[in-house]
């Protein structure tokens, strides 16, 4: 497997949507290619970091205010 072939399947490997046979091929490539191993590990970490850090929290006060406004507008169109 070449690095380009690995790259085209990187997303499927990250998402766990590859067959066990393809996974074994990808892992064999990772074992022998430091560049792809770094790309795989750091891309996986990138996704993990964005999933685990909420960048735009909705503060309780704002949430309550928005909620009241939404329900008031909905009542008007009832």
């Amino acid at each position: 497997m070449t690095c380009s072939e690995f790259l085209t399947l990187l997303d499927d490997l990250l998402d766990g949507t590859v067959s066990s046979e393809t996974r074994a091929e990808l892992q064999a490539h990772l074992h022998n290619c430091e560049h792809c191993e770094v790309t795989y590990n750091t891309t996986r970490k990138t996704i993990e970091i964005y999933r685990s850090h909420e960048l735009y929290e909705l503060p309780t006060g704002l949430r309550d205010r928005l909620h009241s406004a939404i329900m008031a507008r909905c009542k008007k169109v009832c």
Binding site: H35, T39, N41, T46, Y50, E57, L58, H67, M71, C74
Partner: protein, 278 residues
């Protein structure tokens, strides 16, 4: 084109436009969920590989789907018809129960706010989008068919409202999810330096949040929205495609490039002997 005697490979053009305007109705009714059973039945073979290819801005893009057994194709379709818990709330709202809508708002307001913030990159606009998106969902609830999740339908409204808000801020200038995506950056990894172990520990929570915000804001909009829906909000590839009016190959292509671009940009902060030197 055949592959061995146990399967068949079919190469076909995409049946949907690669980059329709956001919110545009998708064309074509032949999805792969429909095609796989037909192809398997006609070929009499237990395996079918479907390669959907399309030309996107002069570039050939393709994606391969394989289904080894017909049952694996039928099962997801059956699952789609199982009623989602939100449908009970939706039915109550349709029956005039405003409290049920109150529950739906409480359930999804944070997600809608996050998506709106990621697209508009403006707090006031995001607040307006949350209000407008829920109001529109309430008004148009009769148009919700129930063949998609209520959440996916709501996200589609929120994305469209966010793009409209951006357009207003830019004084009517057209805004679409195709914006700025013609970039080669991220197609091939360049910065191959490994990261420090747990690199986020080298920064305070507020510093890290700022880095993550700045980094994702720098992505082309068409990549950022796909990444947010797929990797942050957890929509499936199919749901993301449906929500944005994109083909599945286009979503997959954008997601890969978004992930690689983000990785490349974060490497500036997280690479070994970098974060520790601050």
């Amino acid at each position: 084109m055949s592959r061995g005697i146990t399967g068949v490979t079919v190469i076909m053009p995409s049946l949907e436009p690669a980059y329709p305007n956001a919110g545009a109705t998708r064309h074509g009714f032949l999805t792969r969920d429909i095609l796989f059973p037909i192809l398997i039945w006609f070929s009499g073979l237990p395996s079918v590989t479907l390669i959907i290819a399309e030309k996107v801005r002069g570039r050939d893009e393709s994606v391969e789907f394989s289904h080894p057994k017909i049952m694996s194709t039928i099962q997801p379709i059956a699952d789609e018809f199982e009623q989602h818990p939100d449908m009970a709330l939706v039915e109550r709202v349709r029956g005039g129960d405003l409290k049920a809508f109150d529950e739906l708002v409480r359930k999804y307001d944070r997600q809608v706010f996050r998506i709106a913030q990621h697209i508009t990159q403006n707090r006031e606009d995001a607040e307006d989008v949350v209000q407008d998106a829920f109001l529109k969902a309430y008004e148009k609830l009769d148009q919700f068919q129930g063949n998609a999740k209520f959440y996916t339908w709501l996200v589609r409204i929120a994305v469209n409202e966010s793009l409209m808000r951006l357009r207003k801020r830019r004084r009517g200038k057209m805004v679409s999810i195709d914006e700025d995506i013609e970039t080669e950056e991220g197609s091939v990894p360049r910065d191959l330096a490994d990261w420090a172990p747990d690199p986020e520990r080298n920064y305070s929570q507020s510093e890290l949040a700022e880095i993550l915000r700045k980094t994702i804001q720098g992505l082309p909009q068409g990549f950022r929205i796909v990444f947010v829906l797929r990797d942050v909000e957890g929509l499936s590839t199919e749901e993301t495609a449906e929500t944005l009016g994109l083909s599945i190959p286009a979503v997959k292509s954008r997601l890969l490039r978004a992930r690689l671009q983000l990785r490349e940009r974060l490497s500036r902060y997280f690479r070994k002997n970098k974060g520790g030197e601050k």
